[in-house]
């Protein structure tokens, strides 16, 4: 039932290449913005369609695999669209479509410079993200992980202000160092176990290694992928990187980059080390502690930020650790909750970033304290904002509730009262730092926004769609994309239980 069978297929490769192929097209149509944006939208649509086409077979335990060529003796560059990969790829490519529409509205609204570079880097990032999703072994994973690092850099420094450049440096310092640690850890794994393949449930070879070696390796891996997952104390680049344009923050810092990080955490813990190894060496405790303290600390830090995007960034830091928490619980419900939170947080956080961007384009406001009364001028935007922030706090029926519910169940299954407490407290904290924004927007009076109206349709429509999606996913988690079935399937394979 749980066994996967693979069949050769070029679809995973095509799904990666389609956006990379659009890069030169975007480049040569630099002088014709409409044509250039057409390429972006075409690539986004084609990518999503390709990923979607993998879904039915994955649900039937049929996994598409593209085996390319050898990159190191005994290790092929291999792409495998397993349930977890498809799960992540669906989120990333689906939200890219929304972001593309939104980006067009945003950069044109602000008359940004270097739009061609912007769209080209964006497309490259998505290629790398799908590569990360479909990587069948660690080497392939790291290759795409590093490409993602480099492709994101031009987006982080896009504004080319001193602030953005400093953010770019910080970003590179964190991510490249992490990459180096990751490469070292990977080389050690190859020497010790002789393989780098991801397997549901992890490599058995780990169980026979010495505890010290496993602990050191785990520390290196956690540091390596933890930077992108913004686990404290490795999170500092994320708030700084908010200097990027808002659509970049939206997709990359709520979906592609940071989610690649937590995706990596889950890949490493559940597909490389395996739950059994983790619990044998007590490593999941480390994850729980780190994740739990990150959730609480980040939520507290979010209070202190007056800059809207930075507050969202700290909120992201906290929510990413929900996923880490889910992976650390090692129980089926916990894992399902963590995985669902990848999808749910992505949809909700993208709404919030879209709103922040719409406010910035229309009203040129970045600070929360300046948002009094903006809800009347931009009711749709702020309505969506309210919905998504409630969702992040875990209020039903928005999708955030579903993932938190499963996380809570998982914690109870493991008998971990502390984790349940963390979840409850952080829900309150979330509400604490989001509700005041909504309150200001709708219930405080101000004359500042009399002259402005709603943002352009390019921005508002994707925003509403994303908000609607997060509501629908809360009501029916298995709708359209079968996220819930996929999460169940993954948990079943990883934890080797028949019906989680």
């Amino acid at each position: 039932m749980n066994d996967l069978s693979t069949y050769p297929s070029a679809v995973p490769l095509l799904a990666i290449l389609v956006s990379a192929a659009s890069v030169p097209l975007i480049g040569i149509s630099a002088r014709r913005p409409n044509l250039r944006e057409f390429w972006t939208l075409l690539a986004a649509g084609a990518k999503f369609a390709l990923v979607l086409s993998l879904l039915p077979s994955v649900l039937a335990n049929q996994v598409a695999e593209t085996r390319l060529f050898q990159v190191s003796p005994g290790i092929d560059l291999t792409l495998r669209a397993d349930p977890f990969g498809v799960f992540f790829a669906l989120i990333a490519s689906g939200l890219w479509i929304l972001t593309s529409f939104y980006s067009i509205g945003y950069v044109r609204g602000l008359k940004e410079k270097h739009q061609t570079r912007y769209f080209a880097s964006f497309a490259l990032c998505l290629s790398a993200t799908l590569g990360v999703a479909f990587a069948a072994n660690l080497l392939t994973f790291i290759i795409f992980f590093e490409i993602l690092t480099i492709a994101t850099y031009p987006l982080v420094i896009h504004k080319q202000t001193p602030e953005a450049i400093a953010a770019g440096r910080k970003y590179l310092a964190f991510t490249l160092t992490a990459g180096v640690v990751l490469v070292a850890a990977m080389a050690a794994v190859l020497q010790l176990t002789g393989t780098l393949d991801f397997q549901p449930g992890g490599l058995r070879a780990f169980r026979d290694l010495s505890p010290v070696a496993v602990k050191i390796l785990f520390g290196m891996f956690l540091a390596g992928v933890g930077v992108k997952a913004a686990i404290m104390p490795l999170h500092a680049w994320l708030p700084a990187a908010m200097a990027a344009p808002t659509p970049v923050s939206a997709l990359l810092h709520a979906v592609a980059v940071v989610k690649s990080g937590v995706f990596g955490v889950v890949r490493v813990t559940d597909f490389l080390f395996g739950p059994e190894t983790l619990s044998r060496f007590g490593l999941n405790e480390v994850m729980l502690w780190l994740a739990g303290s990150t959730i609480l600390l980040a939520s507290c830090l979010a209070f202190a930020e007056d800059n809207l995007k930075r507050r969202l960034a700290y909120s992201t830091v906290g929510h990413l650790s929900y996923v880490v928490l889910g992976a650390g619980l090692l129980s089926p419900s916990g894992l399902i909750g963590g995985l669902m939170h990848i999808a749910n947080h992505a949809t909700m956080k993208i709404v919030l970033f879209f709103c922040a961007g719409a406010i910035y384009v229309n009203a040129h406001k970045e600070k929360i304290s300046e948002l009094d009364g903006i809800g009347r001028a931009m009711p749709w935007t702020m309505g969506a904002f309210a919905l998504a922030s409630l969702g992040l706090a875990g209020v039903p029926p928005v999708s955030g509730f579903v993932s938190k519910w499963y996380l809570g169940l998982g914690a109870l299954e493991g008998g971990s009262v502390a984790v349940v407490t963390v979840l409850l407290v952080s829900g309150l904290l979330n509400a604490g730092y989001f509700v005041p924004i909504v309150y200001r927007a709708f219930f405080k009076q101000s004359e500042n926004f009399n002259s402005i109206g709603e943002a352009s349709a390019w921005m508002v429509v994707p925003l509403i769609l994303a908000a609607g999606l997060s509501l629908l996913l809360g009501l029916m988690p298995d709708l359209f994309f079968h996220f819930f079935s996929l999460a169940k399937q993954i948990a079943a394979q990883v934890l080797e239980v028949s019906n989680p």
């Binding site: 060529f69 050898q70 003796p73 290759i143 590093e146 450049i165 490249l176 080389a187 020497q191």
Partner: protein, 503 residues
């Protein structure tokens, strides 16, 4: 017929035109360049065929004048030699295509001697690779060195001083090598490498043999610029004319590394050696110093070519580390890094050459963001070269470091692994310093804040001409292609090279 003569053919394709050029060039100066280019271009298929033949059918040997091996001078083309010969041919061909315009701008009156010296240099390099005789190697070493001194001296005003320093230290290096060869000859009675390798196990405990080895390694270490014997390199490479440094930096030190490999792994047996003198470990630890020192010094440089020269010191450290680990994977990494570093350094020095020709300087401090508009393609090549130097996948540089790291872990050399990775981060620092300056407008200029989001204005196109751009871009593209195909190279080409002593 051709097959039997293969070992000597490549050096001769360089040597004969090298002598013809001055003769013809005296009357027709314009003929020098076509002749040189033709010779280099002709060497590529020969070297390529040589590699193909050696991989398919084993080493090819040729004895000079019909005297059989231990008595006469033997030329042997084995996988390592034929591979590096091909590398020399390809890189020098690209550099020569690039050089035509550079030479005609930088020193138009010295075209004839310049191209003649280039070919002599290459003949020396290929001779070193092909020869199977320790003393003959010395002769080719001197041929290439003398040509190298000349090539450095043709450069700017300070270049004769740098060349003179290079000459003095180079003579010390070759002198030590010659002395060491004498020691080995006294003890073994032979100069043929294969013959010496057969005799050595019986006499390895004799002090003169080990003394000879140390002398040889010291001498070659000087030519390779192995830290701390590197001090001649930055001056020589930075004041040499652009096309000379584009030849010397990628190839010159690599030839030295080749000689080290040949002596340490093929003439001597590293395993047996390690029990008597820890020479490979010493090389590895010195290389650690080289990686760190070279990278830090590169960080402090204000001129692109000088920065690249110090970066060469660091990169030679990587090669030394791979050799010093004395593990099969470390060896693979070292050989792969010889290839990769040759290509990326060539690409970067060609970019520096483009800058010199188009702007008249290559000062990092004087670069700004207009450059990325003025010379977009050259700067793109700079970025690719830099990414490869840093060792980011999927560029070629990642894979050589990957094998080096694997080799380090294979031999449990944790410090070396850490240094290899740390070196990559230091690379990031000094290359991003340049890249930020070239691409980002908001650089702190001399007056504090310069040109904040300066108006786009009309930026004139100052891109290098096609004959200079094409080789640069080909090298940059090769870095991307070679990265992903490195496994093929390792399996088919580099694996046969691994000396028996390491397996």
């Amino acid at each position: 017929m051709i097959e039997a003569n293969l070992p000597l053919l490549v050096p001769l394709t360089f040597l004969i035109p090298a002598l013809l050029i001055p003769l013809i060039g005296l009357r027709v100066p314009g003929a020098a360049y076509p002749l040189a280019l033709a010779a280099v271009a002709a060497s590529i298929p020969i070297a390529g065929f040589g590699l193909f033949r050696v991989i398919a059918g084993g080493p090819v040997s040729y004895t000079l004048g019909g005297w059989e091996a231990p008595i006469g001078i033997e030329f042997v083309l084995d996988p390592l030699a034929s591979f590096l010969t091909l590398l020399v041919s390809v890189v020098s061909c690209l550099v020569l295509i690039h050089a035509r315009h550079v030479v005609s701008v930088e020193h138009p009156d010295k075209r004839v001697p310049y191209y003649s010296l280039v070919l002599l240099l290459l003949a020396g390099f290929c001779g070193i690779m092909a020869t199977g005789d320790l003393f003959n190697l010395y002769v080719f070493l001197e041929i290439s060195s003398l040509a190298g001194y000349g090539l450095v001296a043709i450069g700017d005003k300070r270049s004769p001083v740098a060349a003179y320093r290079y000459l003095i230290l180079g003579s010390v290096g070759t002198g030590f090598y010659l002395l060491g060869t004498g020691f080995i000859y006294v003890m073994s009675g032979s100069l043929n490498m294969a013959d010496v390798a057969r005799i050595l196990p019986h006499i390895l405990d004799q002090p003169p043999v080990l003394a000879g080895l140390i002398l040889m390694v010291t001498g070659i270490g000087l030519k390779t610029a192995l830290f701390p014997l590197h001090f001649w390199l930055p001056d020589a490479y930075s004041s040499a004319p652009s096309s000379s440094s584009a030849l010397l930096a990628p190839l010159g030190t690599k030839v030295g590394a080749y000689v080290l490999i040949r002596i340490l792994f093929f003439v001597f047996d590293p395993g047996a050696l390690e029990q008597r003198v820890p020479i490979t470990s010493v090389i590895a630890w010195l290389s650690v110093g080289g990686v760190l020192y070279g990278s830090l010094m590169a960080l402090a440089q204000q001129e692109l070519k000088r920065m690249l020269a110090y970066s060469s010191v660091a990169q030679i450290g990587y090669i030394g580390l791979g050799l010093g680990m004395a593990t099969p994977l470390g060896f693979v990494g070292a050989v792969l890094h010889i290839l990769n570093h040759a290509l990326m350094k060539a690409a970067l020095f060609l970019v520096a050459g483009n800058l010199r020709v188009q702007l008249g300087h290559s000062d990092i401090a004087a670069m700004d963001h207009r450059l990325s508009r003025q010379m977009p393609w050259s700067m793109a090549a700079l970025v690719v070269g830099a990414l490869s130097m840093i060792g980011l996948p999927p560029t070629a540089g990642f894979f050589s470091k990957w094998y080096l790291v694997l080799g380090g872990i294979q031999g449990s050399h944790w410090v070396f692994v850490a240094v290899i990775l740390l070196g990559g981060l230091l690379n990031t620092l000094y290359f991003f310093r340049v890249i930020e300056r070239v691409y980002l407008p908001f650089w702190r200029g001399p007056s504090g804040r310069a040109a904040a989001n300066g108006g786009p204005g009309v930026v004139e196109n100052r891109e290098a001409r096609f004959s200079m751009l094409a080789p640069t871009l080909i090298l940059a593209a090769a870095l991307l292609v070679l990265g992903l195909t490195s496994s093929f190279l390792v399996n088919r080409v580099i694996h046969p090279m691994i000396p028996a002593g390491l397996l």
